[in-house]
Amino acid sequence: MTLETKQKKPDGYLMLFLALLILSVNLLLISGKMPAYYKGILGFAGINIILAVSLNLINGITGQFSLGHAGFMAVGAYVSALISIYLKWPLILALLLGAVVAALLGIIIGLPTLRLKGDYLAIATLGMGEIIRVVLLNLEITKGARGLTAIPRSTSIYLVELVAFITVIFTVNLMRSTHGRALLSIREDEIASEAMGINTTFYKVFAFATGAFFAGLAGGLFAHLMGYIAPKNFEFMRSIEILVMVVLGGLGSITGSIVATIILTILPEALRSFSQYRMVLYSGLLIIMMLFRPQGLMGTKELQVREVFRLFGFGGGKNV
């Protein structure tokens, strides 16, 4: 136990480390020496980070168990892709509009369903995700199961990185404020939260809509990165994949989500030759995690370089 209060200041070393990492990856990118295959993985990792962090806002931080994230992603992807194909608007506008539509859908669906708790909410959001997918499968304009082709592949890795960065900064800053604490208090005890003067309905819908907004952005980026989308990209298992990233990283830990996302994006690629066992690997990992570390990689804590040093026996963590 320390006498001095532990302030949650941004860890300087961590920031430096991350900055160097991002810088070196980008230098490699700019130099053009990075193979397209790695570029692709990098893009997916960035998109997955946006998805995982935004789902963490709903599931981990606000404690509302949602299983419909792929649905919001699909809405963002289709809306922005349709705008790009038919209206030929600039990419940024298409992305933003897709995200806004996803957020509006989040509000419309959130208002009635967020009265539900736990399992019931999970089932309701699962149903929502499936409805979105089936609608996309049957609409004329979305070309059904064939999907949308010839979407301009205008997303660059830099844009994905930038949006991922904005998502993380948004969430981190929100968490440090009274609004972030309001979200946490809903997770901890909704009745007490309301008794503290917090409009829990507003904050639950806010978290849901914001999560949907960023998921929509991720969907738009995905569509313009692949150049081709179909309803099968946004099946129920996609929601589960994102959920696994969040749970593996630790519900409520933003850095945990990022680390878990990077691991779970790169690992299946590294194990390309056994890719049909990917879901086995996922389930296996989850079972092992739940047995030995049910709180996830990071629990609710954030990554601190000091702690990483301590983990490897370099000391320097006396005050923990």
Binding site: N173, L174, A195, T200
Partner: protein, 257 residues
Amino acid sequence: MSETNLLEAKCVTMNFGGLTAVANLSFELKKGELVGLIGPNGAGKTTVFNMLTGVYSPSFGTIHLEDELISKLPPYRITQKGIARTFQNIRLFNQLSVTDNVRIAFHTRKLYPIYNSIFLTPNFFKQERAIADDTKALLSLLHLEERAEDKACNLSYGQMRRLEIARALATGPKVLLLDEPAAGMNPQETEELTALIALIREKFDLTILLIEHDMTLVMKLCERIMVLDYGIQIASGTPLEIRQNKRVIEAYLGEEV
């Protein structure tokens, strides 16, 4: 309605299906009063609190705070209007630190727009600094500063009860409702709590309504006592009157007090 009445409940009734938990209850709290609400288990005391704080909306009757009708408002609006409470079965934010528990309760008084927190505007830092300072002051007043960074679930029982009070005070109440604040405390802790309640009442200019089974605390603190039995108010008066009231002795106190 006289202007000295801060809180006024008129003919309040709460039905749960066929069960009437509180029947036709009327009372008022004058500004600065400290009133006790006692009665046997299941008499409807906590139901009264739940109606006052908006957790339940009364089946019949009205509740006014400073001449404003509040019995139709949601709980968070009532808290914003100035009624704060503690919970009988402690409801802290268990996985969060003691400091965060109190900081959350400053939410309504030190509110800034969401974009301020995203873009880290000067107002954000100003408000957060004010919240941090006020939180520190409250924690030291309630002797919790040494545990400021511990998780709320790791506190001792007495500390949890004090943290509940700190949290309620942080919302800036005019009326404070304490639901069995001394439950599970030993006699020494109860004595400290008695002094503490007197202190915060003085310091924050509070009107307090208190549910408690510890009669030493009730008799010592309260200027007026209301007695509930089966949802019906059977007596109201000074501690001395209550102690000698025949119906109260029959229903609750017993012969020995």
